[in-house]
Amino acid sequence: MTTIALRGISKRFGLQLALDDVSLELKAGERVAVVGENGAGKSSLMNVLYGLYAADRGEVHVDGRAVRIRTPADALALGIGMVHQHFTLVPTLTVVENVVLGREPTRLGLLDARRARDEVQATCARFGFSLDLGARVETLTVGSQQKVEIVKALHRGVRTLILDEPTAVLTPQEADELFSVTRRLSDEGLTVVLISHKLKEVLTFATRIAVLRRGVKVAEVAASASTPESLAELMVGHRVPTTTATDPRPSEVVVALEGVSAGKLCDVSCVIRAGEVVGIAGVDGNGQRELAEVLTGLRAVDGGTLTLLGDPARLNPGRARALGVAHVPEDRLKHAIVGDFSVAENVALGRQRQAPFAKGPRIDVEGRLARTTALLEAHDVRPRSPGLRIGALSGGNQQKLVVGRELDGAPKLLVAVQPTRGLDLAAVDAVRARLLDFRARGGAVLLVSLDLDEVLTLSDRVLVLHEGRLTGEFQRGAFDERLIGQRMLGVLDA
């Protein structure tokens, strides 16, 4: 029998219709996947069910009764829990404190720490989780933090658990463990909803799959009757995107690291050559960020040497740019653009003192406008409004502009960190094409991504980082996902 039914849900953000009359039924103990590309509305739909977003239209029925879910508290009371893609844990609190937050056991008005611990312990024991309950969450690994999220929901006695892109930051091994745990939970009667765009895991985990495209549910299919290709076609509508990498022709060394240490980064030696894409695989927080910061001059080197184009270099951001290092940073809004600046002002950022952006000490408004107009055209950034506040552009258009700007100055090395995260599929394709195009023209690319699929798709060579050290190197043609996953976890011989 149906436990939860979403009927005709619509939700609008500003001018954009995020959900258009979407209906979905969830039966007790079922494993359902909701798939779609970024921005298709999968997370929005589940955020409506969890009371985080207020739907503009539509109703939710639980056990046949119409209910109003206005807050997460309502959802939790109805037995609906959610594990978000970006964890909702308080880093400075302990595991126990995080789990009991919102329903704390008290005695005489005071927090009853012992009972809290016992209760959480009981939940963990019952569902087979082992966690260091007294540890502060910020000291845990990403995989453990995700377990805390799941325990949080189970502790509230949920009967339906929503997992939003749960494997985005996990290694293949951690992902396997997650799915075996949730499969067991679903066998015990828990309804599990998996939001994902990774079709392989969707097909192995779910029994039924709902496909969203631009806010509309376009199909609902049985997993047994689907293939990755058929799902991809449903998600995108017309064509299956393919990114084809041509054979690399690596030539001279652009950058060489020799025993470099910086922050988490420890004794790293490697080279990046012109005409190749070097991908970095690793679990979040294992030194990738530091590596990118060292190469772009944002972080000083503690030890070792960095050689750029044959010369030992002490970099700062300005020098790195002058020497031909371009940077597409992970957090676009923080590190790449100034949200309150116009599109044209953002195009000048980084080259504001050079022609055509400046004439002596003064801003060359016309030169800037001409160059901006050309870039908007060349990279198909919409709308073509140089005077518009860049914050008003969609993420995909912002990113296309950033990539275009960074490649505009004929750089030698491009450091790209998570360059396609959060973009819609068309923008993903555009950005990836630019990277490969740059490589084909003899550019060197360092690609850092937490999405292992992306690293494997684009890279000619993959380096694995674990706790700041290089733990593996793989050439295209010899990529072994299992082995790379083990190296990401620091397992060296298996």
């Binding site: 944002l298 020098r319 740019r321 100034v338 309150d340 600046f341 950022l349 400046a358 409004s385």
Partner: protein, 376 residues
Amino acid sequence: MPETASPSRANVVLRSALPSVLAIVTSLVICFVAVALLRGGVAVAVDAFLAMTWGAIGDVPKLVDGASIAVLLRPWGESATKAALLTLTGLSVAVAFRVGLFNIGAQGQLMVGALAAAVVGAGLELPPFVHVPLCLVAAGAAGALYALGPAILKLRRGVHEVISTIMLNWVAVSLVENWLVPGPLRAQVGGGNSVAGTAQIHESAELPRLVGEVSRLNAGIVLAVGAALVLWLWLSRFVGGYEWRAVGLGPEAARAAGIDVSGAVVRAMVTSGALAGLAGAVLVLGTEQRYPATLGAPYGFDGIAMALIGNGHPLGVLATSVLFGGLRAGGTRMQLFGVHKSFPELIQGLALLLVAARLIWIRLVDRLAPPRGGGP
């Protein structure tokens, strides 16, 4: 609906200024109602507000009745004097805002600037065309130096500038008004008598009056308008100003773009301090002729209000300051109607509070006049 590629410049300017304008109008209305309720009737309130208006822009009815031009020039002098102070302190706060710093220390910087102007003005005897600039430079330098500390503490030691400038305000009050002015720098008048405050400055150090003895209208307002224009050009037309704005709006992005963030912060903060110091000089050289026993008014706070209501834009600050300078000069006339002369400050405070709710105004404006491509 006009379908232009991007919103016109005038439209953008209007939209960014509208919340401030609405906030000021609303606060004027609230205060009008308050006077009407407290002082018995709309007629009284109308009279009081008219008195304030004539006090600000000059007694136009009297002029029409044939009085001399002095009925305009005298109020202009008062309004301009107050507007000059508000503009300079407002620009001081606004320029720090532009690099993302909240300079609550304009008060302290103004104090040391005023003291420097008083000391140089009284201590040296020089021809006016050298003396006045020297006093201004001394005041600007003193204020700049006093603002340098918080900038360096912020960059090197991570001390929040709000805290350090609050502390430095207190240090300035303690050292200047509780030690130097009543102590070592106290004016000595013949016969062992002494007056409160420092020695009177020489006539050569006084800011030149613009229209003779009829009005107190002096060069201070020229200095203030000049500062606002220079700052506006710097921020909108020069690469250096562009870099300041980038640092203020996106410090991380600015650093990643190779901009010298620390340098921009230091230079902007020094400029901020210098402007506050200049305000002190204008006060001493134009109005007080000495550092008085106590400055007695929270000029630095007024600067914060001007910067915020003026939306951090140099010309916005200038316009706001001229308006409130006028209201303050005219406000003294309201005493005849039983309204305290601090009334304009109440209007100013309310306007600031309403400006703080900028988002509400923006939503209101967007609903009444949807932006390009509007509709639901």
